[in-house]
Symmetry: C2
Subunit: 708 residues, 2 copies
């Protein structure tokens, strides 16, 4: 009775002038906005009657402004609206995306200062997005954010899948722990060794942050449309389980330079009682603007191989010579330098990859280490580190492109900036022009090392502005961008679909880094975290787990195959050496077959840290591909093939872990079997520790036509 | 006897392995280099037997390097050489410059670390230059300078003409004081109000620093060829009168990112017992590399007028509209905005200036405020502040250029960056292309406000690198650069003669700044300090000293005329309004007549802070122009016209202060008289406080031909 009474009071508040309610289209979510007695804006979020976000404050502290934007507000206006549309992504997991939400825009007026701030909430069936907007006004024009004070008050000591907050790198293994355990585990989680790292708090974590409550809610916190703003971290008050936004500062500790009219990125809360819905959510894209690129025919999902893993694994080098203690572009004469004999990007080696790509149906070959400057590119905060246009003497830019094009293969350009973003911008036009001259469609860019000038970091507003500049300028040249070490994606690829990939997390490369390898369950977490904002160039497909430098890849071959389906990306690499694929040609068939663009996707099983099973329908075909990745514990999937077209027969080729396979000692034990299935079939399939399985489904008639 | 004995010991040292002597070609200078007992390199400089620099240390402290580069050196090698050549500047005070020095290059080896550092000394007849060089080597590759530790130990408590050390501005009035008085006067000298200011030490001063010793030596400390290095200040140990280099830091406090092979700028000590020789010195240019621009016909000394003083003095505005609290490029629609009615860069007004320029023989018209963004350009650390290509609706880019060109007048482009250097670099190609499209030959650039990103300052290595980039890129487009608020020039215009001007000190604009105006003797100091590194766009020629906003120009009209001769620059503005020149058409004749490029220059009288008298021979003619500027005290020049060609008669037109003229209350009282003179003539000429005089000399035959 007491409980009922309290609830009644709360609900009464909703109808007062200082409070507003918003429901999701399906009615499962309720967002309640109100002002506290002192005029502090607060919100809370309820899903199916359960608290997701308890009453949480909204606002900003401002530099040189004692009043800030934290309280003393009154509601000047509210506007409710609804929106429902379907839009077609240029590439994606599905052919069409529904963008359906109810919106509440609350215009607040700070009484003492007569300053306006709009908080715009959009409540979808899969969660909440909200942002701050500052309309043009006379009393709030230019302002500097000291800190954004957006709270996300959790309803309990949830389990979180987290990486340490850091201004310079996202390349951590995930730690799974209770919120209350983060502080104690931070030191262990903060593994060192990245070329640029800057932590800030013992309870600071990154977004997208995945959590699971004791009562079975899956909650994801992230941001959408991070443009001209600093990247948000979350700092935890671990006594009260309240996260608060922690923006990335500039050299002066300031966190955002704002000029009204302006707006922040969206803060997102994706919620479900079924983990699969988190993976299927398109909320992040929906909160971004539609494509600003009108003609998109040049944006093409791409499956590629590359001269890359051999450098990562220690077999060859990016650099051309070992002759000099350091090199200087335009000064060092590489044509007279003694080659070190281990250079990867040679004409001979690149042709080998081109031949392999052509033979096996890959679209492209990435070549790293093709350009002068790799001798001392890392760790020196070197400004003029690359010019992005000058090849080493053993790399024939024109000849190799001609050779590739004759075989209907493209080369993928590589621009490592070494963090010297000004240097990159200075050479960007020439670099993009060179690409167009020789027929490159895509560039992999990199930001290894501290951002120059020092004082800026990888995720500060100034640097985020650079990544955006690079993507927009590339669009002008009709170039696709795959940016590594750049800020984590926030759905901007909807607006600029030429941003076909990002790294922004630990990729496969760490598997070659000895003691600091990816956990075996890493790939069961990434889709819940890193992939919420956009695709990742994870570079899967390693078949030989014991690599040249002595490191060991924590995966089975079947697991590696499954990644082409579980790690959605329009850009997928087959990262291993051609000779390793030739050794396991039957398993390699799956990589050759698997699509990189889809009409439909079905999340069949999912639990962060444990397993993910996805089926996807290849774009414009009746073929399906299915992947399962598994965590540390052996497991059997029991799945229903009801996603297949009713009444149609499919040949399913199942690439699975052998019974004795495991990611540590028996990585190459797999089985391949073919069965004919229909939409009525059920599948029970074993996955080894660190393993998984991959399945291709071809309609029986199609299978007959397909020549293998 | 005791003294003799000590001297003998010292001189003995010269011949030991740890010491080296170097003499100037004329034998007046002796530079002595040696190692102290602990291997610290030291040098001293003697001029005509007098100590100029007492034993002073050389070296660097390095970041993350306990050993640094301060001591433990041995001399590994020394190389002595001589050099003598004449070179022709593209523009200048003289047609040919002699570069004549004896050189000593000392290769030092740090014993414990086996690291090499070369100190290269060049001793000229007018002073010393030396720099540090780091050859390619295995034990010193990348290093970060914590501080350069170059000392300049003064031999006494000299009189100095100084401005406060500052990382962001050079726009101070000079203070004349004893070295020992600097600390006490610093607070007063550090006048506030500049858009960007950063002081660092109570005894920190800027170069070029002019001094005068009690025994009559004039000593100037500066640097030459400041490229890819941070700008040097001088910090004074005022107990011992020892200056030490104090470099401009980056956001981390680091003072230089170095990669061997590399070198520092030259540290310069210009010395004479005659102040005129300091002004005539070409040491700074001689220490720079020859021109890297091969074809220089497009680089043209220029006399110009402009839409500028009317904004400075408050008559009109750079901005177009007052309608918005702030503007955003690409968002604000200026075509629909309400004009404020005071915009200076209108078609009508610019045509008025073009007409005036054409009528009076000026080469060009500068127009500021022509492009969108001026409404809120200052003080907001706004990144996207200008795009450098979009004119206001009332400025017809093509039409005005066509109009000007039809009258054989050029428009000068204006690029204010507001300190947002990345934004400028992003738009630089488009901006320079636009200039070429419409026929602009020159750009005035500006860097008002804090440098973005914060953490960098106006004189840090990263920002200096930008100024250099702008000049080199402009050269690619055959564009002349006149950079305001950029780092002080250090003779780089020899190497890039398209750098035809800089501000880098208080220009005439401060005369319109009310309580913070230039001292009346400012122009008697600038040639000894600011002009040592290159020309200044001082924008002289104000005739109406009581300006629109109520400020008062501290000068007489005769003083303003003299500046066209005393302030050498290949770029000279007639800054006042056309109507003010029309009011004083007889005085204006001198500005119309005076040349901006010279075959010869003779410094006739000079004392810093008191007076400067110079005669210059106009390029390719027999005409001479003479200027005298005077300090606070009335004075009579007694000069010899021996510089005129022997046996030739000249009509001298003398523009002089009236007897009752003074810079405060009677600024427009001048006399003009004509006399015929020869090289045997003597002239006795009065100058008022803050006044001066100007003289044109035309051979009598020429005068007859000349139609006025």
């Amino acid at each position: 009775m007491k409980h009922f009474f309290l609830t009644a009071i709360l609900w009464f508040g909703i109808f007062s002038a200082n409070a507003q309610d918003l429901k999701s289209p399906d009615g499962n979510f309720l967002m309640h906005f109100s002002l506290e007695a002192d005029g502090t804006p607060v919100y809370k979020l309820i899903y199916k009657g359960k608290d997701v976000i308890k009453t949480s404050k909204l606002g900003f502290t401002l530099k040189n402004d004692n009043k800030s934007l934290v309280n003393d507000f009154r509601i000047e206006d509210t506007k409710a609206s609804s929106f429902d549309e379907n839009w077609k992504p240029v590439w994606g997991e599905v052919a069409s995306i529904r963008n359906h939400y109810n919106e509440l825009a609350v215009t607040l007026n700070q009484k003492q200062t007569d300053r306006k701030m709009i908080i715009r909430f959009r409540l979808f069936d899969d969660g909440l997005g909200f942002r701050y907007e500052f309309p043009q006004q006379n009393n709030l024009i230019y302002f500097t954010i000291k800190e954004e004070r957006t709270q996300f008050a959790m309803a309990g000591d949830h389990t979180a899948y987290w990486i340490p907050g850091d201004y310079d790198t996202q390349e951590y293994n995930y730690t799974t722990s209770k919120l209350s355990e983060i502080r104690g585990l931070m030191e262990k989680a903060y593994t060192k060794g990245n070329a640029s790292q800057t932590s800030f708090s013992p309870t600071g974590v990154q977004t997208s942050l995945m959590m699971k409550s004791q009562d079975g809610l899956y909650i994801n916190l992230h941001e959408a449309a991070l443009i001209n703003y600093s990247c948000m971290h979350l700092n935890l008050d671990d006594k009260n389980f309240v996260f608060e936004s922690w923006l990335t500062p500039d050299s002066h500790g300031d966190k955002g330079k704002m000029q009204a009219p302006c707006k922040t990125p969206w803060r997102t809360v994706i919620v479900s009682d079924d983990a699969r819905n988190i993976l299927a959510s398109k909320l992040t894209y929906n909160l971004n603007e539609p494509s600003k690129i009108q003609e998109t025919s040049w944006i093409k999902p791409t499956k590629y191989v590359g001269v890359w893993w051999e450098m990562i694994s220690g077999k060859s080098t990016w650099s051309y010579t070992d002759e000099f203690p350091s090199v200087q572009l335009g000064v060092t004469d590489f044509s007279k330098a003694k080659p070190n004999g281990k250079h990867g990007a040679t004409n001979t080696n690149v042709k080998k990859y081109i031949d392999f790509a052509a033979k096996n149906g890959f679209d492209a070959v990435l070549v790293e280490g093709w350009n002068e400057g790799w001798e001392d590119w890392i760790g020196h905060e070197k400004d003029y580190v690359f010019d992005f246009v000058t090849p080493y003497p053993d790399f024939d830019l024109k000849g190799l492109n001609d050779y590739a094009h004759a075989k209907h293969v493209k080369l993928i350009m590589h621009h490592e900036t070494s963090g010297a973003v000004r240097n990159y911008e200075r050479h960007m036009d020439a670099a993009y022009k060179l690409m167009k001259q020789y027929g490159y469609d895509a560039v992999k860019s990199g930001y290894v090392g501290n951002i120059l000038p020092l004082g800026e970091t990888h995720y500060s507003q100034w640097t985020n502005n650079h990544y955006q500049y690079a993507v927009e300028k590339a669009a002008d040249y009709q170039i696709m961008v795959n940016a590594h070490e750049a800020v984590r994606p926030t759905g901007i690829a909807r607006t600029y679909p030429n941003l076909i990939g990002n790294e922004s997390a630990r990729g496969t490369e760490y598997q070659a880094f000895g003691n600091d390898r990816n956990n075996a369950n890493h790939v069961t977490i990434l889709p819940f975290t890193r992939l919420i904002g956009g695709p990742m160039d994870y570079t899967p497909g390693i078949f030989e787990m014991d690599v040249t430098n002595g490191s060991h890849v924590n995966a089975t071959i079947a697991n590696q195959l499954a990644l082409y389906v579980t790690m959605y990306s329009p850009l997928q690499m087959a990262a291993d050496f051609p000779e390793n694929y030739e050794r396991f040609a039957d398993a390699f068939q799956f990589i050759k077959d698997v699509a990189v663009d889809w009409d439909d996707s079905r999340y069949l099983e999912a639990e962060p840290g444990q397993y993910i099973t996805v089926a996807r329908k290849a774009k414009g075909t009746d073929n399906w591909f299915l992947g399962n990745v598994n965590g540390e514990t052996r497991r059997v999937s029991n799945i229903d093939l009801g996603f297949l077209e009713k009444g149609k027969k499919y040949t399913a080729t199942i690439y699975a872990d052998a019974k004795d396979a495991n990611y540590k000692t028996n990585t190459q034990a797999y089985t391949i079997r073919k069965v004919v299935v229909t939409s009525n079939s059920k599948l029970s399939q074993y996955s080894a520790p660190g393993g998984g399985y991959a399945i291709s489904f071809y309609p029986v008639a199609e299978t007959a036509k397909k020549k293998r």
